[in-house]
């Protein structure tokens, strides 16, 4: 495979395109609403109408508006049909011939679509994720070719530094710096790992990227491997995502057949193989040292850092770990230049971020917006606010490690620093909207129960602390707690946060702390008066002493 072959495949694919395309979403959300049957019915209807040489029915990845699936988009008409069923699908083909269809359409000019900016999701919903040709037609693997043939590994790292990309897994570590550290570690064997263990409840961005555009992640990994000098990669993906696993398997196989993975890629001395590792349902494996233990086939328990994976990771070798979205950002950076990427977003947070919008909101689905977009633009304009006339009370970001941002702070721009100031984190991109009927104390208990279940049990503060905090929250909800219990809870939060071994324990108190910060009245309303016991720190005013009789 050389560049010429790549371009030839692209041209052949583009020349084979038909006049009209019906793109039918085949990602997990729409599939569970019956998108497979819809696609079959569309194909059948096209065949019956004798339009095979004019109309192409293409199964594509996520088309973002998940709440109204199955979705079908007709091009060049630019009409997006929503809630298509097997029964109504044939009428879409009739509509192409001037007939009528009763299927509802979404407005392509609505804020939900107009305010998005696609870098990671540029191909999602456009290309067929199960055909590598479809990705090549969208200029796929050209970034890898450019990196291998025209740049030294050092220049590749330099480009990443200039782009200002920061890790999309949540912590926001500068990607270029991480690549540079691994590249500088002298070792004969190095590894690249893609963290696709998207364990945060309420987050489904990585699943959508893997289901919609798996090759962009593979290409990003290959460029990273060239930059750091690795020849083996692993993708650690959750077992809960069977469709993502199968699409990755297909993608790896096709890329190997075309010589875009394997030995001597693009007839250069660079070799790179990718293997899949399937997780087994442990949230803590999203933590990088736990993830590496799991890749080695062990219990996924974290270990203290340093040494950081960049120096001593998988089997003791220097290892580069990045998130799915981080890798998916890499090919566009090389195709369009680091300066272009650095021009998007805010001063410290560059590029775009994909969010999974869910919860009590009208338009649930995937959105990609430039960094620095205010939260209100996301949840009010794009998300359409809370349904049934309710008011938005808070937005939860960062899953069980993040916090709740109350409605009065919705003008906050979305970037790593601003969210951190409010006691939340950017996280991997789950955004759950809560309306005024949501009980914040119950939400805090929900997340604490999650952390309690998912604590791996290695370090005591997390293992025992989460259980005690859960019981205290439960006691508050059952109206059996006093101010002393609340004080104890706050003390424990601080202790667990400061002394736990890994990110799970260190961030487990965040949902409780942030709800305490903004919705303390809800906690206090549930407290019982202290029956004569020693007053807790939050209860310093002793009851007035009755006058002596």
């Amino acid at each position: 495979m050389i560049l010429h072959d790549l371009l030839q495949i692209k041209e052949r694919e583009l020349a084979g395109r038909k006049k009209i395309t019906l793109r039918c979403c085949q990602a997990a959300g729409c599939l569970s609403s019956g998108a497979k049957g819809v696609k079959e019915q569309l194909e059948k209807a096209v065949a019956q109408a004798g339009l095979q040489d004019q109309v192409e029915v293409r199964g594509v990845g996520c088309m973002k508006l998940c709440c109204q699936g199955p979705l079908v988009q007709a091009d060049p008409q630019n009409s997006l049909y929503v809630n298509v069923t097997e029964e109504t699908a044939p009428s879409l083909v009739a509509a192409l011939q001037g007939g009528r269809t009763d299927v509802e359409q979404a407005d392509p000019n609505a804020a939900f679509f107009k305010q998005q900016m696609f870098i990671v999701l540029a191909n999602s919903g456009l290309i067929d994720p199960e055909r590598i040709e479809s990705y090549l037609a969208a200029d796929g693997y050209q970034a890898l070719h450019e990196a291998l043939n025209e740049m030294s590994p050092k220049e590749v790292v330099e480009t990443m530094v200039q782009s200002g990309l920061r890790g999309r897994g949540g912590a926001g570590f500068p990607t270029g710096l991480k690549w540079g550290t691994v590249a500088k570690s002298p070792a004969p064997k190095k590894y690249v790992i893609c963290n696709a263990d998207e364990g945060d409840p309420g987050a489904f961005m990585d699943r959508s990227v893997l289901e919609s555009d798996p090759h962009s992640v593979l290409e990003g990994m290959a460029i990273a491997a060239y930059a750091v000098g690795a020849d083996q990669g692993f993708i650690y993906v959750r077992a809960e995502y069977p469709l993502a696993i199968s699409r990755l398997q297909i993608a790896i196989k096709q890329a190997k057949q075309m010589g875009l993975l394997g030995s001597g890629i693009f007839e250069s001395p660079f070799n790179f193989n990718v293997d899949l590792r399937i997780g087994a349902g442990a949230f803590v494996c999203g933590e990088e040292t736990a993830l590496m233990a799991s890749v080695e086939g062990k219990r996924g328990t974290p270990r203290p850092r340093p040494p950081f994976p960049a120096e001593s990771g998988l089997w003791g070798c220097p290892t580069l770990i990045n998130n799915v979205e981080t890798f998916a950002n890499v090919p566009p950076i090389f195709r369009r230049g680091a300066a272009w990427f650095a021009g998007i977003g805010t001063e410290k947070s560059k590029g775009t971020k994909v969010f999974a919008l869910a919860g009590k909101i009208k338009n649930t689905g995937l959105i990609e917006v430039p960094m620095g977009t205010p939260l209100s633009a996301i949840v009010r304009d794009m998300g359409g606010g809370a349904p049934d006339g309710a008011q938005i009370k808070a937005v939860q970001t960062g899953g069980p490690s993040g916090g709740c941002i109350p409605a009065q702070h919705l003008d906050t721009p979305v970037d790593y620093e601003s969210l951190g100031k409010l006691g939340s984190i950017m996280g991997s991109g789950g955004m759950i909207v809560m309306d005024d009927r949501t009980n914040m104390v119950e939400i805090a208990r929900f997340f604490m129960e999650f952390c309690m279940d998912e604590s791996c049990g290695k370090c005591a503060p997390c293992r025992a602390g989460t259980v005690q905090m859960y019981h205290l929250l439960d006691k508050i909800i059952q109206r059996r707690a006093t101010a002393a219990d609340l004080a104890k809870l706050e003390e424990l939060c601080d202790m667990v946060r400061s002394t736990s071994l890994c990110g799970l324990g260190q961030t487990a108190p965040n949902p409780t702390l942030s709800t305490l910060r903004f919705f303390r009245n809800e906690y206090e309303a549930l407290l019982q008066p202290d029956p004569g016991g020693p007053p807790g720190p939050a209860n310093f005013n002793p009851p007035p002493v009755p006058a002596a009789a």
Binding site: P201, A203, A282, A358, T364, G365
Partner: protein, 194 residues
């Protein structure tokens, strides 16, 4: 009397029987033999062994092999874990430790049907707790348990990534969107009739 050096190190006392040598190795070997005997009559063990061979019996492929074992057998029983341990030359404690660490692996047989209620945040704020309560009430088991007639296993998931169509329930491996307590009960009642 203070224990003698011989006692502590398990060295043989003059003319006597060895002391302090644990009897477990003997016992474990018997156990392993029984497990391998059990395996010899079952075709699924052959398939599993072929899968291990595909991974060149690499110890780091343990999780992949356990996935395959659970796919073949439905759950992981002790004999199966011993079989995997002996083939991969791993201590049984390590295999057992991994199998019990991850939520995905189950050491108990599952019912004919499975109902997985997603309890991710998006599903939770949209009422997944009410769905779970209704199902618990209907089949009278708690999450992780199976009905006494082996018909339905009730499970919960931490998030299946179907947040856009919350609340979601997985019936027999099929993700079903926008469920309510009523629709879930209806679905399970259909199973019980059959």
């Amino acid at each position: 009397m203070a224990p003698t050096l011989e006692y502590l190190t398990g060295r043989r006392e003059a003319g006597g029987r060895p002391k302090m040598i644990a009897t477990t190795p003997q016992k474990r070997q018997g156990r392993l033999r029984a497990a391998l005997e059990h395996a010899s009559g079952d075709k699924r063990f052959k398939i599993l062994e072929a899968h291990m061979k595909k991974h060149q019996f690499r110890q780091d492929a343990l999780i992949e092999i356990l996935h395959k074992a659970q796919e073949l057998f439905g759950f992981l029983d002790d004999d199966l874990l011993l079989f995997v341990a002996s083939k991969l030359k791993l201590p049984p404690s390590r295999v057992y430790g991994v199998a019990t660490f991850y939520h995905f692996f189950t050491l108990k047989p599952q019912g004919k049907h499975t109902c997985v209620v997603c309890l991710g945040t998006a599903c939770y704020v949209k009422g997944a707790d009410k769905i779970l309560a209704a199902v618990e009430d209907l089949i009278k088991v708690k999450p992780g348990e199976t009905t006494p007639d082996n018909q339905v296993s009730l499970l919960t998931a931490r998030c299946i990534g179907a947040c856009g169509i919350a609340p979601a329930v997985v019936y027999d491996g099929t993700v079903t969107p926008r469920q309510t307590a009523g629709s879930a009960v209806e679905h399970i009642q259909k199973w019980e009739v059959k």
